[in-house]
Symmetry: C2
Subunit: 155 residues, 2 copies
DNA sequence: GCCTAAACCTTTAAGCTTGAAATATACTGA
DNA sequence: TCAGTATATTTCAAGCTTAAAGGTTTAGGC
């Protein structure tokens, strides 16, 4: 009489999960907003650009466009535009992939590496400040729990 | 010798906080992406539109544009465009504010209310599913901890 | 070799987002 | 009154984002 269908409707814990989702969203947007503001005023840059440079910094050999969009979980067309602007800035370089004329490999220039090093140091300090209400143990605990959303994803 | 400056650099817990931030971002984007996809395919709508309708549903008397952008923590120009499209859809109504010809009050139409009711039920079920890896207690714990990021924000 | 499917990437259209400038209205204090 | 300031909103330019469509190139049967 109570739950006729397997999973078309919300379960008994749905309210707690809904509240978590709203809080998650608000917290993320608050931090994002702070970071965006800082990137804009201190480096005249943006969060998407920083994310791309961060991915490239972790992969010194460069990445294909498709690897980049896969890592960042954004659409492929999206990456095209961001890279375009990073190339204009001289932070990123496109080079052909030997043996596959469809693909491009993209990597940081020397200038891009230096710029990213500066930005990454400040970025870490900003995050440290924005999440300063939580101590290291709390941070690790939430990190682990959030990870289960990603790894135990249903359907 | 170790920490010459008060807070220009990252503190000792900064790595844990940085990892938390990256996880927070990834989890949020994953859930957002699922919700966006569902809203698109089931309702031909978007997350920003849902958010606006949700705010209006909670305020039956309507909201001024500035109240709306304040609640949603987005720029005022942003709300203008979203409302514009919701008005086209017949979901939202603009009306003058008596005594202040600068302001508009905005509220759901009957059609908008009915549509939101349908969407909200599905939305709750989607969230329930996307966050299904966590039980109610875990959800409440993280919610409370995340809240401290918002309420104990520094600087 | 040839042909189809797949992979890689860009382009496009539509919409979201911001910060800043522009408009219009309201208020406040000489 | 009237100037100056504050408030409410829109407009604008730039950039981000997606999904879908388009163009190339590669890979796999046959």
């Amino acid at each position: 009489m109570s739950a006729p269908n397997p999973r078309p409707d919300a379960g008994p814990d749905s309210k707690a999960r809904l509240r978590l989702w709203l809080k998650l969203l608000k917290a993320t947007r608050t931090v994002e907003s702070g970071l965006r503001e800082n990137l804009r005023t201190e480096f005249a840059s943006t969060l998407p650009r920083f994310d791309v440079m961060s991915a490239l910094a972790r992969n010194a050999g460069g990445l294909k466009m498709s690897e980049l969009s896969g890592l960042l979980k954004v659409s492929n067309g999206n990456v095209t535009g961001i890279i375009e602007r990073l190339v204009e800035d001289g932070h990123v370089l496109r080079e052909p992939v030997p043996g596959d004329r469809r693909a491009n490999r993209v990597r940081l220039t020397r200038k891009g590496e230096e710029e990213f090093t500066r930005q990454a140091a400040r970025h870490e300090a900003w995050v440290d400040d924005l999440l300063g209400a939580l101590d290291a143990d709390e941070a690790r605990t939430i990190t682990a729990t959030l990870d289960r959303i990603l790894t135990e994803g249903k359907s």
